[in-house]
């Protein structure tokens, strides 16, 4: 019962934040509601027993990535976005189609999804176990991601550096 109450409370925060992201016109409000979504998702991970993933979610997603987003929004002084007209066909067919599809998927999941669940307090995803998996079974993907991150760092530095900075140095 406690599990269900926690799930519903933080799930409601998740969905409210996601809808707020859609409704808000200013990017900074969207970014802050996305932080709320990520924080409550971390609680959902804890309910599923994923201790390590919950910690990483808070540190990497809600911490690092969203700070980067807020930093860029502040840096570029992003204002209220102007909206363009959507097509009428999308409104006529898209919305009923999406409703139908989501009802179908929800029905299939809820009716035939099984009732597997983890008890509150059971933590199968402890950092020790995840670390063992990461450095034994998934060692090659782990090393590949390190190369990916290295390339991403270099790409970000090259892309964000001022184009005139190098030329100015050469000329002077």
């Amino acid at each position: 019962m406690l599990h269900l109450i926690l799930f519903l409370a933080f799930g409601a925060v998740c969905v409210a934040g996601a809808i707020n992201l859609l409704v808000q016109r200013h990017p900074i409000n969207g970014a802050l509601s996305l932080v709320a979504v990520m924080g409550s998702l971390a609680v959902e991970y804890l309910l599923l027993g994923a201790e390590f993933v919950a910690a990483v979610q808070v540190i990497v997603y809600a911490g690092a990535i969203m700070v980067l987003f807020v930093f860029v929004i502040m840096l570029l002084n992003a204002g209220v976005e102007e909206q363009t007209k959507g097509s009428r066909v999308a409104l006529l067919f898209g919305v009923p189609g999406m409703l139908l599809g989501s009802i179908l998927i929800g029905w299939v999941l809820l009716a035939k999804g099984g009732d597997a669940s983890v008890p509150v307090g059971a933590m199968p995803g402890a950092p020790k176990v995840i670390g063992w998996l990461l450095f034994h079974d998934f060692l090659l993907p782990f090393e590949v991601t390190s190369i990916l991150v290295l390339i991403a760092i270099m790409g970000a530095v090259v892309l964000a550096s001022h184009p005139d900075a190098d030329q100015g140095k050469k000329e002077s």
Binding site: H3, E81, G113, L134, L148
Partner: protein
């Protein structure tokens, strides 16, 4: 005890919100945040399935998705900065040419 299907429905709702935001938003940063929302929805379904099958590989994959998302955020925001520097706009309707 909460069935795993509840978590899957929640992750579906988050993913659908992300897709909707991706389609209706016009600010390039908001579009990027919608992509992050979609990634979060997928992560939740990964963890839910890991709990259902008692397989921790799902949680390791969430870790990899987070690494890729972090790399993507760094490079994407650098691209956004460089687009803003050359065009002085964040509206994607005005960024419709590959060439300046």
């Amino acid at each position: 005890m909460v069935p795993v299907s509840y978590y899957l429905v929640l992750s579906g709702i988050l993913f659908a919100c992300g897709v909707t935001g991706f389609l209706i938003k016009r600010n390039i940063i908001s579009i990027f945040m919608s992509i992050e929302l979609m990634l979060n929805g997928v992560n939740l379904s990964f963890v839910a399935f890991a709990a259902q099958w008692h397989a921790l590989s799902g949680q390791v994959f969430v870790f990899f998705v987070m690494v890729v998302a972090a790399a993507e955020a760094a490079v994407g925001l650098a691209i956004i900065i460089s687009v803003y520097r050359t065009r002085d706009t964040l509206n994607v309707d005005q960024v419709d040419l590959l060439k300046l």
